[in-house]
Amino acid sequence: MLPREVEYAKPASVAEALTILAGSDGARALAGGQTLINVMKARAASPDVLVDLNGLDDLKGIELGADGTLTIGAMATYTDVVGSAEARARPILGEVCSQIADVQVRNRGTIGGNVCSNDPTNHLPPLMAAIGARFTIASQSGERTVAASEFFLGVYLTAAGPGELLTKITIPAGKHDGFAAVTLGADGTCIANAAASLNGSLRVALGCVDAVPIVVQPSSSDEASVREAVRGVGLAPPADVHASSEYRAHLAEVLAVRAARQAAERI
């Protein structure tokens, strides 16, 4: 409950935030804090400077483009997405966000925080990987946009490195998505999860089985192809108290099939 000493700043603009982030390699952006503050409480990791992004309203917007492209500000909360009329253009987003943790956490936790922490048990990394989201990263030297495959680098590690900030996530149009998970109890920690998108070709992303979401592209959404595709990547998931490597790999396969089926049924 008792974090180490830390410095705190609440910048008034993204530019200011980037300046402070660039100022110290121990500086970390503080989004919803629903992961970072817990890790600080455990003193498992201790930033030197927290740059509080709450209050940067230009990072909160949710916009729907004419072509159906959805742009979600990194600081939009799960609750914002669940309640957003624009976000309904990609229904799976609200559906998955409403499954994350609990009311309190959904009120505070952010889309950007979820993908940037990239805890293997998080819901959004596999979802974003499946639906082909693109991530816009700002730094003092400008802006760049990367795909999920380049964004997720490892546990708690993403392309948004020191001195950088994830500002928004861009999601192409599409409705034929699915998500499946096995959690501890009705709404506890994910043991394994999978997201699928069948807009054009099928993409299935598996969560909880590696440091980053594992994407497979089955030739079709029928069970056999999906299972074959998942077996094809030769998963070697980490084992923990809830699942052996073998069981987790098995769950990944079953959940991939279910997510793909859900996506297919929505056509």
Binding site: P3, A9, I37, M40, V103, N107, D187
Partner: protein, 157 residues
């Protein structure tokens, strides 16, 4: 430019009363409310943000105050369990908790009441599932929740 500092003056309005304190940046809001403001009704039941005993309504939003720094609440309007009753008269929800034996040790009750209060404000007549979902972030080890569902249901319109 937002100054970078390891402590700052924080001003909050809690249950209608304004407080101003100098606070270390690392201090969690729940510690600030309990230790600095002496409002000990809100509790701490875990150290990972799971249990919800520290739930408060901050600027109208239900939050877990163990995952928020006190400095982040600067300028906020905060509601705690101490503010629910009016002149010693239990609020309908508090009375309903008592009527339905929705509390035993009473340790989770303040957080539970804040979650239920937030629910009924947003949704005065929730379904059974909506009640369960509204309470999913609050752990109770005494009651098994059944009587809590009944209490919230009875207090809803």
């Amino acid at each position: 430019m937002g100054a970078v500092a390891s402590s700052q003056t924080v001003t909050v309005t809690v249950n209608g009363v304004e407080y101003e304190r100098e606070v270390e940046a690392r201090k969690l809001l729940i510690h600030f409310v309990r230790d600095d403001l002496d409002l000990t009704g809100s509790h701490i039941g875990c150290d990972t943000g799971n249990c919800g005993a520290c739930s408060l309504i901050v600027n109208g939003q239900l939050l877990k105050s163990c995952m928020l720094l006190a400095v982040q609440a600067d300028g906020a309007t905060i509601e705690t369990v101490e503010g629910l009753a009016e002149d010693g008269e239990l609020a309908a929800l508090q009375q309903s908790f008592s009527d339905h034996h929705a509390l035993q040790c009473g340790y989770c009750t303040p957080g539970m009441l804040m979650s239920a209060t937030a629910l009924l404000r947003a949704n005065p007549s929730p379904s059974d599932d909506e009640i369960k979902k509204a309470l999913q972030g609050n752990i109770c080890r005494c009651t098994g929740y059944w009587n809590i569902f009944e209490a919230v249901k009875a207090a809803s319109a």
